[in-house]
């Protein structure tokens, strides 16, 4: 893969606000229906989870804390025995098909050997135990999912040509159930088995089937997703399987898929926005020798249907403070919508995994005749706010810690975490993304504009 050099890369102090990566259990436990998540760590993590997840905590969720106490830290208690006791309880309470241990900073610091204990307990309990080290020492927010799916990669069955045909037929059947009504547009079904494609990244099942549909339109069948809806349905991986990321924060998973499971990675821009979706499909088609058909018309049609939102966005400026790694793709989409991006803050930038996305960003800037934004890795929130006071963007994409204070200082904001939880992938959901991003711009009323600044502090610029 080629590494792209954009001269405007910067790296700051890393004093920024983001969610702890263990928050990935919030969406992963909903995605993998038969799983149970066990976060091993101190009260701090538990308090974060219960505050961040709000209402879901009351819905008898399939996640829990194994809360380390003083005895665990000082090794007066035996970790393995303690975990065994807790996992037995989880097993009898929930009967999951897999228990996923989420390692935290605490387990890192006291060097609890989760990877070593898991296989032993797995044998004892008869339930697979997957270990993901999603800790705040190494990772930010969505990267938690990356560690979990990378760990899951090792559990996928081996891809084997003899059983593939059978499996593929099964998969095709599954896909065709989702899209039964659209069957006629695909014509000859045999055409669609040219390449064995496994997209990776956790998406709500409806979004996953929408993307399945997009690729099926181009006669490329999807043979499975990582992660799957159920742990038992993990896709087969091995030589000859093409994998393709749907989210920009999955670089570890991509590496594992390539190096450990010998899969071939399709480096494509991510299917966010109609432009991203088209580029994603085109790249997949190019690998599987399928000639893309009608993609341009389809993209134009979608852009046409977005015109009311585009009118609001054109010419507006935007800054990303950076906390969930979706920033590059979203910025690229918004530039294509006619916005000017001042700054893209991002926790971590994998230039190889995101190469295609970065290239598309650069091309989009050229095409729309907009300046290339500065990309700030490991940003410093304090300096960012100072810059924002200078540049006065029309919109700031930021975390909740800064949203209200910025609003009080008359800078419109959109809460960045919403992009993680909303359905933003595929052409169909492009409208939803714009709905989110235009909301603060649409609601601006003139009646309160007498108060330009509602802050109680002095603003120091």
């Amino acid at each position: 893969m080629k590494t792209l050099e954009i001269p405007t890369f910067e790296c700051e102090t890393g004093n920024y606000h983001t969610f702890c990566p263990i928050s990935c259990v919030a969406w992963l436990y909903q995605k993998i229906e038969d799983s149970s998540f066990l976060v091993v760590g101190t009260k701090t993590r538990g308090y974060f989870l219960q505050s961040a997840l709000g209402v879901t905590i009351f819905a008898e969720p399939r996640y829990a804390m194994a809360e380390s106490e003083e005895g665990d830290i000082s090794a007066q208690l035996n970790d393995q025995k303690e975990l065994e006791r807790i996992c037995l309880r989880v097993k009898s309470d929930r009967n999951p098909s897999v228990i996923i241990w989420i390692g935290t900073c605490t387990t890192e610091i006291i060097k609890m050997d989760l990877e070593g204990m898991a296989p032993k307990l797995e044998k004892q309990l008869g339930i697979p135990i997957v270990v993901a080290r999603a800790n705040g020492l190494d990772y930010a927010f969505t990267q938690g999912e990356d560690t979990a799916s990378a760990a899951m990669t090792h559990r996928c069955p081996e891809y084997n040509h003899c059983i593939t045909n059978r499996e593929e037929r099964g998969a095709t059947k599954r896909v065709s159930i989702d899209i039964a009504t659209n069957d006629q547009i695909f014509g000859d079904k045999n055409k669609s088995t040219r390449c064995n494609l496994v997209p990776f990244g956790s998406l709500p099942s409806s979004v996953a089937s929408q993307l399945n549909l997009e690729s099926r339109r181009q006669f490329v069948s999807v043979s499975g997703w990582l992660p799957s809806q159920r742990y038992a349905d993990l896709p087969a991986l091995g030589e000859g399987v093409y994998v393709c990321g749907v989210n920009p924060f999955l670089s570890r998973t991509a590496t594992t898929l390539m190096r450990r499971r010998k899969c071939q990675l399709i480096g494509a821009p991510f299917p966010i926005g109609p432009d991203g979706t088209r580029a994603w499909i085109e790249k997949i088609c190019s690998v599987s020798d399928s000639k893309p058909d009608g993609l341009e018309e389809r993209e134009n049609r979608i852009w046409g249907s977005l015109s009311d939102y585009l009118e609001i966005l054109t010419g507006k400026s935007i800054s990303f403070m950076g906390d969930n790694l979706l920033e590059i793709s979203l910025a690229r989409f918004f530039i294509r919508c006619g916005m000017v991006v001042y700054e893209i803050g991002i926790p971590y930038m994998d230039r190889r995994y995101q190469a295609a996305e970065l290239l598309l960003l650069q091309r989009t800037c050229e095409k729309m005749k907009k300046p290339t934004p500065r990309i700030v890795e490991k940003p410093d929130n304090y300096s960012q706010v100072q810059r924002m006071h200078e540049l006065q963007p029309d919109l700031a994409i930021t975390g909740m810690a800064h949203a209200n204070p910025l609003e009080a200082r008359n800078i419109d904001t959109k809460w960045s975490v919403e992009f993680t939880f909303a359905q933003i992938h595929g052409s169909v959901n492009a409208r939803d993304v714009l709905e989110l991003v235009t909301r603060p711009l649409r609601r601006r009323s003139d009646s309160l504009s007498g108060c330009r600044n509602l802050s109680k502090q002095k603003v120091d610029v």
Binding site: G14, N15, H17, T18, F19, C20, P21, V40, T42, K43, T44, G46, Y47, F48, Q50, S51, A52, G54, I57, F58, P61, A64, M65, A66, E67, S68, E69, E70, D72, I73, L77, E82, L83, I86, R89, V90, C105, T106, E108, I109, N135, G136, L137, D138, Y139, A140, F141, Y382, V385, G399, M400, A401, A403, N404, P405, E407, A408, S455, K456, Q457
Partner: protein, 514 residues
Amino acid sequence: MKLAYWMYAGPAHIGTLRVASSFRNVHAIMHAPLGDDYFNVMRSTSERERDFTPVTASVVDRHVLARGSQEKVVNNISRKDEEQHPDLIVLTPTCTSSILQEDLQNFVDRASSSSESDVIPADVNYYRVNELQAADRTLEQITRFYLDRSRKQNISDRCVTNVPSANIIGIFTPGFHNQHDCRELKRLPGESGIMVNQVIPEGGSLKYLKDLSRAWFNTVPYREVGLMTATFLEEEYGMPYISITPMGILNTADFIEQIGKLVNVWASSISEKKFNYELYVDNQTKFVSQAAWFSKSIDCQNLAGKEAVIFGDATHAASITKILVKEMGIRVSCSGTYCKHDAERFNEQVQGLCDEVIVTEDHTEVGDTIARIEPSAIFGTQMERHIGKRIDIPCGVISSPVHIQNFPLGYRPFLGYEGTNQIADLIYNSFHLGMEDHSLDVFGGHDTKEIIAKSLSTNKKDINWTPEAELEPNKIPGFVRGKIKKNTESSATQNNISEITIDVTYVAKEKSSP
């Protein structure tokens, strides 16, 4: 290790941060990994705070793990000092720093030599104390630091104020209805000629802390936070304090009586004027608070003997128990708190007011207790509200942990005379909704619900209901249905009956009716 799904009180550092960010111009620096600065989100969203939360993290990453923080923490402190010139920087340990056993005191010593701000490390043991205890300790620590220093520098003014005055200790962010309580508390002595000297920590400025001891006495409205400070001030400065929570008519009257006593000790020697609050209490009770009249009115008569379960922090749970029992004639089947460290005192306070006392941090235990008792209403935290939702019992929220909806924009104190009105509304509305449901049931409004066992942990019994008998409980109003059904089943088990027929239900009914 402990299996936990939910916790009532947060980790220690949250308490420290709450106190630090309540003071004006105090900055807290957490020694923590990325993502632990979640306090900023909580404060900014639940309290709708319009200013940046003065909390930053000195991020612990792999490098820190390998080589120690070295210059990092010190640099972060100096940087904050230059950027925002806070009066005080509180270096806050977290679980991570306590495992790493880094010498925070050393960082503080190095940083304070170069920075203009004062720097102190929060003296809080993560594994020993919870959020509330840590807040209590931090408040005492900061107060002590400034009072001791002013004494050393000889700038402290030890003369008491000319007019009687009081400090209010323990109002802080994001406390349950604290802002409203504070306003009400200021009014309460204010109307009786007592000046409020200082409120700490909320909105308090460190520059004025030296004058804290000029007040005649201290009030600590909430048991959880402020007692340590008040004790310190009593020991070192001889200031008396009142730790009665003026919640409910009786408690408020007690509170004011105490004020009267304390004030008169000095008043007689200074101005030879004696304060008498009897008339004031009488007037307030009669005309400002509607609660006394309400408990006499026929509305409240309807509530007599109804059952309730109460759970919350020690202050609120104890006060509400007293209000329900003594002021409204409601039967409290169970009263409980998650403040384990304060269990003894809690037991003392609710002694004789309720059938059983529960002290636990485990929400399933609380849930199962509620399911077993099946009260007509619950008064608890957000967790109890959700338990109530699941088993169809109305719940009034009386204590943290809470949601954004418990930070109302309108004026809703729990303390003082206006507080009694608010509490009466809350209690009446909770019960009343249950009654409304009952009336609908009686008149066949929406009586299509299936009977379900109202228990959180399902325990299957081997008891069959014949189809006719099955219909029988449907004739009973919904809110007692589960109970009747359970009585019937337990009566059947006692008599070794494995199938419940219509006859059995009648026998059970006869037995259970007094």
